[in-house]
């Protein structure tokens, strides 16, 4: 009984951490521009696919990972520079639609270059499951959890302690005032796209050994990550983490205790309930502006 519960919990936390990482990416761009970047899932996909392709050419794994993160960051910068920036005077909704277009474009591009097949990335430190109290967890899941934790700490330091991070937050709160204070808001937007692309790539590479990767892996993960971000309150880092974990654990528990046929419905019911009572999400503050 308790081993069973523990297994569901491990499963939930692993999936939840992935959703949380994706949700964080949404939050960064939202913070800087109030834009929801629906190409976030594609950053994940590019990170994973790129690593697979580079490992395939014989590069050692760590080099391939660094290169893949760099490629994805460039993709993020390019997305901002060539698709989002030219429309900077447009409304937020228009820019959101542009990101949807970009996500379709990126999927098509990867499909052309690397094909439609699924690919597997070898786990970072073996496939031997670790047994804890009768339940098992894969070493790769620990990697996911550990790196998620590191990223969360690093991001909170970045936003609260560094000038650049504070500039991003300032731009988010009031772009005009930020400009008057000498902040180059265009540059801030560029940086935030690059940063969130890097984050997406890291998430994509971390999960590739668990979920496998293909040109359309970003659709589902992107959507769940978005839900996690909304659940926790858009723009809030802690919110994205909490939202992701709640979503993942709810799914696993529903599959285990209720029925696997309804496992996708249960978390959505929870989300509706939470958003009904807390429209700005768990950690969102400015209720009237939020989803």
């Amino acid at each position: 009984m308790s081993a069973e519960f523990l297994q569901y919990l491990f499963t939930g936390i692993t999936i939840g951490a992935i959703y949380a990482l994706v949700g964080l990416g949404f939050s960064i761009i939202y913070n800087a521009s109030h834009v929801i970047n629906f190409a976030q899932g594609e950053f994940l996909m590019i990170g994973g696919m790129c690593t697979v392709a580079l490992v395939g050419t014989g590069l050692p794994m760590p080099v391939a990972i660094l290169a893949a993160v760099a490629v994805t960051a460039v993709a993020g910068l390019a997305l901002q520079k060539f698709a989002v920036a030219p429309a900077r005077n447009a409304e937020v909704v228009t820019i959101i639609i542009i990101t949807i277009g970009a996500s379709i474009f990126l999927r098509g591009l990867v499909q052309l270059v690397w094909g439609k097949e699924f690919h597997a990335l070898p786990a970072f430190s073996g496939d031997e499951p670790i047994t804890i109290g009768g339940a098992t967890i894969l070493p790769q899941s620990l990697w996911v959890l550990g790196i998620t934790l590191v990223i969360v700490v690093a991001l909170s330091w970045f936003f609260n302690k560094t000038l650049l991070g504070k500039a991003i937050l300032a731009t988010s709160h009031n772009p005009d005032a930020a400009k008057l204070m000498g902040i180059n808001t265009g540059f801030i937007l560029l940086i935030s796209f690059g940063l969130s692309a890097m984050l997406g790539a890291i998430a994509g590479i971390l999960v590739a050994p668990i979920t496998l990767t293909s040109y359309d892996v970003g659709i589902m993960l992107g959507l769940k990550g978005f839900v996690a971000a909304v659940l926790g309150g858009l723009g809030s880092g802690a919110g994205a983490i909490a939202g992701g974990l709640i979503l993942g654990i709810a799914e696993a528990m529903a599959a285990g205790y209720i029925s696997s046929d309804y496992k996708d419905a249960v978390p959505f019911v929870i989300i509706l309930a939470i958003l009904f009572f807390m429209p700005s999400g768990l950690f969102g503050l400015r209720g009237t502006e939020r989803v």
Binding site: E4, I18, F118, A120, T136, I210, S214, G256, S260
Partner: protein
């Protein structure tokens, strides 16, 4: 000088334009619609390549009934709506003699009424039982059905003393149909399905479902009916949880990709598949071996990619039609249809085909072989 060169030019042009159509009048037109691009392209791509390769080869040997074969092909992208449009075009404006095509079950089912109405002999390359059950006058098919796959697995389980199993299946079309067919035939083999779990086609973790199965008392084996990456993740999770009872997969994973994706976890997994996968391992004297080896060598030499059972279905479909035309001695539609129905003892890549008025598929369980994955490769088991 100038007018002359213009006249000669236009003459040559019209000659060039005329010659193919003058040719085409005598050609036997084979119509086809396949999902060459889109999500089901892994089906349509090898199917089209196989049709092109085989037709070229038949033409080089003098064609059929002294006439050349001509392939008229459209890419349906796996969409039922597009398939209907293309089939109408094949029947009405291309005036083909016969249609071999339909990569996926959905597009095949959508065009059956058109074939029946206009009396067009049609050989489908899709899996669903409902294509030929109940029997339709003009519709035939070549691949084995998921019901047969389930039957083969259950027969193997029974032989090995397994009678209580759990199932985990995908919620996509293939998994759903597989689950339904499995439930229907399980009783015939004395198999009891104690628990049945599902997962979505894009799910990334199935440990919760498998934990539930692990804790179900009395389960002697687990059967996973699914397609794509799902079964590979199930296999990995299965190993992670250390479930000891044997894992069976369906013919949906019968490709090297599955072994590559699931890695070590795939060791010991058993599944039914067409003989094409273990061409080299078939014993000498197996009647299917020469057919399969010939196709495999030609295909792999020409396209430099491994054969799949899907391409084999296209080869079987085309050859059935060609044989029927030879048998009938004409391309008259009713004569070809009747001859198709009379097919006896045709050895194809999917097995021996024996059609009848009541059976427009003509395969039996021997068409499937049980395989086990050992050392990253297929091994035949009995």
């Amino acid at each position: 000088m100038k007018p002359w060169s213009q006249i000669i030019g236009s003459l040559t042009l019209s000659l060039v334009a005329l010659s193919p159509s003058a040719w085409a009048a005598d050609n036997i037109k084979i119509g086809s619609f396949l999902a060459v691009t889109g999500p089901a392209s892994f089906l349509g791509d090898p199917e089209l390549k196989t049709l092109q390769m085989t037709i070229e080869e038949i033409n080089a040997e003098g064609g059929v009934l002294g006439r050349q074969l001509e392939l008229v092909h459209y890419d349906s992208q796996g969409s039922a709506g597009k398939a209907r449009t293309f089939v109408k075009r094949l029947i009405d404006s291309d005036e083909v003699d016969v249609i071999v095509g339909g990569s996926a079950s959905g597009e095949t089912l959508a065009v059956i009424p058109l074939m029946e109405r206009s009396g067009m002999p049609f050989v489908s390359l899709a899996g669903a039982v409902s294509i030929v059950d109940p029997v339709k006058r003009w519709v035939f098919k070549t691949p084995h059905t998921d019901r047969m796959a389930a039957g083969k697995i259950f027969a193997h389980m029974k032989q090995n003393g397994i009678s209580q199993i759990a199932m985990i299946s995908g919620t996509g079309g293939f998994g759903k149909s597989g689950l339904k067919q499995s439930k229907e035939v399980a009783g015939e083999y004395g198999i009891k399905i104690l628990s049945s779990e599902t997962y979505g086609p894009k799910d990334t973790d199935m440990t919760a479902q498998l934990t539930k199965i692990k804790n179900t008392a009395g389960v002697q084996a687990v059967l996973n009916f699914g397609f794509g990456q799902g079964p590979a993740i199930v296999t990995k999770n299965y190993k992670q949880l250390g479930i000891q009872v044997p894992l069976f997969q369906s013919h949906g994973v019968a490709s090297k990709k599955y072994i590559e994706l699931a890695g070590d976890a795939a060791e010991g997994v058993k599944l039914p598949a067409s003989a094409l996968l273990l061409a080299e391992q078939l014993p000498e004297g197996d009647a299917q071996k020469p057919v399969i080896m010939a196709y495999k060598q030609k295909y792999e030499a020409r396209y430099n990619s491994p054969v799949s059972s899907f391409g084999g279905h296209a080869l079987d479909g085309l050859m059935l039609v060609v044989n029927a035309m030879k048998q009938a001695g004409s391309t008259d539609k009713e004569a070809v249809r009747a001859a198709l129905e009379q097919t006896r003892g045709y050895m194809g890549t999917a097995g021996e085909v024996n059609m009848s008025e009541k059976d427009h598929l003509g395969l039996d369980l021997t068409a499937f072989r049980m395989l086990e994955i050992r050392n990253g490769s297929w091994q035949m088991v009995n």
